[in-house]
């Protein structure tokens, strides 16, 4: 089927996953209010949200394989780049919901609001991935951010959660101000908010440089905050540390994915013509992020905080794909984001288990001897850590390798070397957790921790699924990688211009 927007029904079809999920989110909210006094309603609402995500995934699959669009003028892109990203968002949200199921009950959170906020934030991410217009990017970003502000501060009984919520809200809104001013200046410079019209205006030399240069700089700052590039990362460790752990997993995986997808589309497609002006800036941001993120992660004593810094470091790796600005790097970005979602949420599922569905036992000493007392969980965690570190045989290795291929194609040799060297540094702090789990004798606290660690069946299913995907992606990456490469081709036409200016 071809969408040409001759009838207004085509707009609904182009937005089918978003429409399905919006209706479902409101339904979950209403059910949450109607059934809030019944015991066990939290679990039901969680499963209901998962069903909605499943429907959205099916709708997305129909768009992926059954639909193509005529032209590229619409505000909403129906290209495979967007639809692949949608699957990553849906997967991230679904895994986060499953690992929330017992956490929400244990912490007595309001389940209806919690799950519907996750669904609404997911819709915002989908809009960010779909946007071909800066207006939609702004709206999607805010829909996502406002939902996540509330989720971070969701546990109102917990001081740390409230504090993290305030910090995330103030700095997030501050960053939005920069992004918005950047959008205004680019709009003034190029005369349009449509990404393709902006690219056209730049190519034909109609863009006013006096507005474009500060505009692009402000856009870079705004996106830098959202994807947590150093030096705009200072909110990340505090917010990831203080937020409820399933929310941290959701933020580290899905929110980062959404910000990167929009980042790539704006910079690589819309601002391809001024590549010479922005690539040096992003180059230095990516290099500093990789170095600082990995070095500071070494010094962390809390596993949750270590994973926060590790997510900053991964943001640095992913920024390399934006700078490389070619098909290989775009496919690598999509593949990396998928793999990162799976391995990161898997690691956080173990963190939730060890912390006994609450916010205690995040110290690395609490993991001492964990592997011998809980062999299955220990092996799972080790796989996640190895994959995060990019060990051969895991999907994390293939993802990093693809990123390096993209960087090499763009001849970003120094960045590639920094990526490899900082990866070596990252082995230290990932493997330190594994070393504590397997090589250290547990003391009384950590033995009690291991004895109490008994995740529900749903978490076990998620863990097995994540480990399976990581090993599958590490040993037989072909199918998923081909899907990512095929999805990146949606951006090819416009990107040809970008790679032409790139050659020295």
């Amino acid at each position: 089927m071809i969408l040409d927007y001759s009838s207004s029904f085509h707009y609904v079809l182009a937005l089918l996953p978003e429409v399905v999920l919006s209706c479902w989110g409101m339904l979950v909210l209403i059910m949450g209010v109607a059934r809030r006094r019944e015991p066990g309603h939290g679990q039901e609402l969680g499963w209901m949200s998962l069903a909605g995500l499943g429907l959205a995934a099916v709708a997305n699959g129909w768009l992926y394989w059954g639909v193509s669009e005529a032209g590229a003028a619409a505000m909403i892109a129906v290209d495979r780049f967007r639809l692949f990203a949608n699957w990553v968002f849906i997967l991230g949200a679904a895994l986060s919901i499953v690992i929330s199921l017992s956490y929400v009950t244990r912490q007595k959170l309001q389940a209806g609001e919690y799950y519907s906020l996750i669904l609404f934030a997911t819709i915002g991410m989908m809009f960010m991935g779909a946007a071909r217009d800066l207006m939609i990017i702004f709206l999607g970003l805010e829909l996502m951010s406002i939902g996540v502000y509330a989720l971070v501060g969701f546990n109102r009984r917990d001081r740390r959660s409230a504090e993290a919520g305030l910090k995330y809200f103030l700095l997030g809104a501050f960053a939005t101000g920069f992004l918005l001013f950047g959008i205004a200046l680019v709009y003034g410079g190029a005369g349009s908010t449509n990404i393709h019209s902006i690219a056209g205006a730049i190519q034909s030399g109609n863009a006013a440089n006096v507005l474009m240069v500060p505009g692009v700089a402000l856009l870079a700052i705004g996106f830098g905050f959202k994807v947590a590039l150093v030096p705009f990362h200072m909110w990340t460790p505090d917010v990831y540390d203080g937020a409820p752990t399933p929310v941290t997993a959701f933020m580290a995986a899905a929110v980062k994915t959404a910000a990167f997808v929009a980042f790539l589309r704006v910079f690589v497609v819309g601002l391809a013509g001024v590549y010479d002006q922005w690539w040096t800036v992003l180059w230095s941001l990516a290099a500093i992020t990789m170095v600082a993120g990995n070095v500071v992660a070494v010094a962390q004593s809390s596993v949750k905080r270590m994973l926060a810094y590790s997510s900053i470091a991964h943001g640095g790796y992913l920024a390399v794909a934006v700078i490389a600005a070619n098909d290989t790097a775009t496919a690598a970005l999509l593949f990396y984001l998928l793999v990162y979602t799976v391995m990161n949420i898997g690691a956080f599922a173990i963190v939730i288990t060890v912390s006994d569905q609450s916010e205690s036992n995040h110290r690395i000493e609490d993991y001492a001897g964990f592997g011998w007392r809980r062999p299955a969980l220990g092996v799972f965690m080790t796989v996640f850590l190895l994959s995060l570190a990019g060990f051969p045989g895991t999907a994390g290795f293939i993802a990093k390798y693809q990123l390096l291929l993209g960087a090499a194609e763009a001849q970003l040799w120094v960045l590639a070397v920094v990526l490899v060297l900082t990866t070596v540094v990252s082995y230290w702090y990932y493997l330190r957790v594994a070393w504590f789990m397997w090589m250290r004798e547990g003391d009384e606290t950590s033995e009690a921790v291991a004895a109490a660690a008994d995740p529900p069946l749903a978490t076990h299913v998620v863990l097995v699924l994540c480990v399976g995907l990581i090993l599958l992606g590490g040993i037989f990456p072909g199918a998923v990688l081909d899907l990512a490469i095929g999805s990146a081709e949606g951006l090819r036409g416009v990107m040809a211009g970008a790679t032409a200016t790139l050659a020295p």
Partner: protein
């Protein structure tokens, strides 16, 4: 005319930015962020005189979003006030900044 309006918008934006950095009261910081957003609105309206209706449309979205953000933001500030009995951001030190 356009340069005057853009200059005013930039000055307002910088005042907002400085306010966020210098002031320590969470509500004042939030007001400074609103000042930033309204500086952007001014720029959009001024630019849309020359580039078409999109800028004015954008302003409506920004105002709506700012209202939604205020609702969530003030709720977060109230929830932290209940714990600390203050809205001074320097007093919130469980997590290192």
């Amino acid at each position: 005319m356009l340069s005057h309006a853009l200059l005013l918008s930039a000055v307002l934006f910088v005042i907002g930015t400085l306010g966020v950095i210098i002031r320590r009261n969470a509500i004042i910081i939030f007001l400074c962020i609103e000042l930033q957003l309204n500086a952007v609105n001014l720029a959009f309206v001024a630019l849309s005189r020359y580039t078409g209706i999109e800028g004015q449309l954008f302003v409506f979205f920004v105002m709506t979003v700012a209202a939604a953000e205020a609702a969530v933001g003030l709720a977060i500030i109230i929830s932290i006030f209940r714990h600390y009995k203050t809205v001074d951001v320097d007093k919130f030190n469980l997590l290192k900044w």
